[in-house]
C-alpha cells in the first residue's frame, strides 16, 4: 500500500480522486528552495555571529563518535586564550551541557525531543541565552546523526565532522550528503586504532576525496591528548578570519 503506484485506491476511496474540473485551476511557478525559511534564519544567525567577530562551528557525527569529549579537551586547552560558548543539541537530557559547564564555559542545551537535527530557528533562540559579546567561538554540537543534520544550515561558518575509528572507514561513501558538507574531517579515538584492524584512515580519506571534498583530515584522540595541535591551529586560523579587518 503506497502513495506512489495507486495500489491504495479502492472502491471506497476512489471518489476522493474526482477533483474539480481543470478550468479554474492555475499552476503558480515558485522555484524556491524547500528550506528557504530555515536558510533565511540561518543567514540572520550568521550575520549575528559576524557582527560579534565570533566563529561558529557546527560539530556533526554519529552518536558516540566523541563530540563532547573533543569539546571538553578543546575547552581546557583554549582556556585563557579564546573564549568559548557551546550550544548542545540532544534528544533528551542536559547531560552534555552539564559536562561543558563543569569546564566553566557557558552552555545552552536544546532538547529536541523527537527531532533528529537542529535547525536555524532553534539556534536563533539559543543565541539569546549566550553572551556573544564575551565570546570568540561558539560550538554547536548537533544531534548525533549522520543523515538529517546535514540538510539544515544553522548559520555556522564551518562544518566539522567526526568519524571515530570504531565506525567503518566507508562511512563517507555511505553518507555522502554529510561528508560532502564537511569543511574538516576529524578521525577521532585514534588511540584505539591498534585494536581496530579493519579501519584504515587512508581508506576513509579516499572515500572523502571521491566526494570531490578537499577538506583537511586530522586524526586525533581527545581522551589521550593526541593530535590536538593541528585541530586547535585550524580553529585559531578560522577564528582570526572572522575578525573585522582593522583599518589602522
Amino acid at each position: 500500500m503506497c502513495d506512489t503506484c495507486g495500489c491504495n485506491v479502492t472502491s471506497g476511496n476512489r471518489h476522493l480522486l474526482d477533483r474539480p474540473p481543470a478550468e479554474g485551476a492555475g499552476a503558480i511557478e515558485i522555484l524556491e528552495g524547500l528550506l528557504s525559511a530555515n536558510d533565511r534564519e540561518a543567514a540572520h544567525n550568521r550575520a549575528h555571529f559576524d557582527r560579534h567577530g565570533v566563529l561558529a562551528v557546527n560539530l556533526m557525527s554519529a552518536p558516540g563518535a566523541g563530540k563532547t569529549a573533543l569539546l571538553e579537551r578543546t575547552l581546557d586547552t583554549l582556556t585563557g586564550t579564546l573564549r568559548v560558548g557551546v550550544i548542545e543539541g540532544d534528544l533528551e537530557t542536559e547531560n552534555d551541557a552539564r559536562r561543558i559547564r563543569a569546564h566553566g564555559v557557558p552552555a545552552v542545551q536544546i532538547t529536541t525531543g523527537s527531532a533528529c537535527h537542529l535547525d536555524a530557528h532553534m539556534i536563533h533562540d539559543a543565541l539569546h541565552a549566550l553572551p556573544l559579546t564575551a565570546l570568540d567561538i561558539v560550538f554547536i554540537e548537533n544531534v548525533g546523526n549522520l543523515v538529517c543534520p546535514a540538510s539544515f544550515d544553522l548559520g555556522q561558518h564551518a562544518n566539522v565532522v567526526l568519524l571515530s575509528v570504531t565506525e567503518g572507514d566507508d562511512k563517507p561513501a555511505k553518507y555522502p550528503v554529510m561528508f560532502r558538507a564537511a569543511d574538516l574531517l576529524l578521525l577521532s579515538k585514534i588511540d584505539l586504532l591498534p585494536l581496530m584492524d579493519d579501519f584504515a584512515p587512508a581508506r576513509a580519506e579516499t572515500a572523502l576525496r571521491a566526494l570531490a571534498n578537499t577538506a583537511p583530515v586530522m586524526p586525533l584522540s581527545a581522551k589521550h591528548d593526541i593530535g590536538m595541535a593541528p585541530w586547535l591551529d585550524w580553529l585559531r586560523t578560522r577564528r582570526a578570519a572572522c575578525l573585522p579587518s582593522q583599518a589602522d
Binding site: P20, E23, A25, G26, L31, L35, A115, A173, A210, T214
Partner: protein, 123 residues
C-alpha cells in the same frame, strides 16, 4: 526522519501562495529532489500524507521530480552523470569537480483550485 520538517516548510510555503491567490484548495504540488539533497522521496510522501491533513492541501497530489547527480570537471571541462558517492569526472577521473545538479530541494510549482463556478485563478 527530518522529512516531516521539510514537509511542513513545503506546506507553509504552498498554503501561503494559495492564500495570496484566494484559492479554495491546492490540487498539486511539484517538487524537485536530488539524491544529494538529503531528503528521501518515499519518506517525503509519507510525511506529506500526514502533514497535509486538515489544510487546504488535504487532497493535494505531491509530484516528485527526481534529478540526477551531475558534475563538471575543472580539469577537462567535461560534464558527466555520476553516483552520489563518487563525484569524480567519468571522462578523465579527476576529483576537482563542481556539482552541477543533484542537490536540489526545490518547490517547483503549486497548482491552485478555485471554488467551483468561480473565475479562473489569475496566473
Amino acid at each position: 526522519m527530518h522529512e516531516l520538517s521539510v514537509c511542513r516548510a513545503l506546506l507553509d510555503r504552498a498554503l501561503a501562495v494559495a492564500a495570496t491567490h484566494e484559492a479554495a484548495s491546492i490540487g498539486r504540488l511539484v517538487v524537485r529532489i536530488g539524491p544529494l539533497s538529503g531528503v528521501e522521496p518515499g519518506l517525503l510522501r509519507e510525511a506529506f500524507a500526514i502533514a497535509r491533513t486538515g489544510t487546504a492541501a488535504a487532497r493535494a497530489e505531491l509530484v516528485v521530480q527526481r534529478s540526477a547527480v551531475r558534475v563538471r570537471c575543472e580539469r577537462c571541462g567535461a560534464e558527466s552523470e555520476c553516483p552520489p558517492n563518487r563525484l569524480i569526472c567519468s571522462h578523465c577521473g579527476d576529483a576537482s569537480t563542481q556539482l552541477t545538479g543533484g542537490d536540489e530541494l526545490l518547490l517547483v510549482s503549486v497548482e491552485l483550485l478555485a471554488p467551483a463556478g468561480d473565475e479562473a485563478i489569475a496566473r
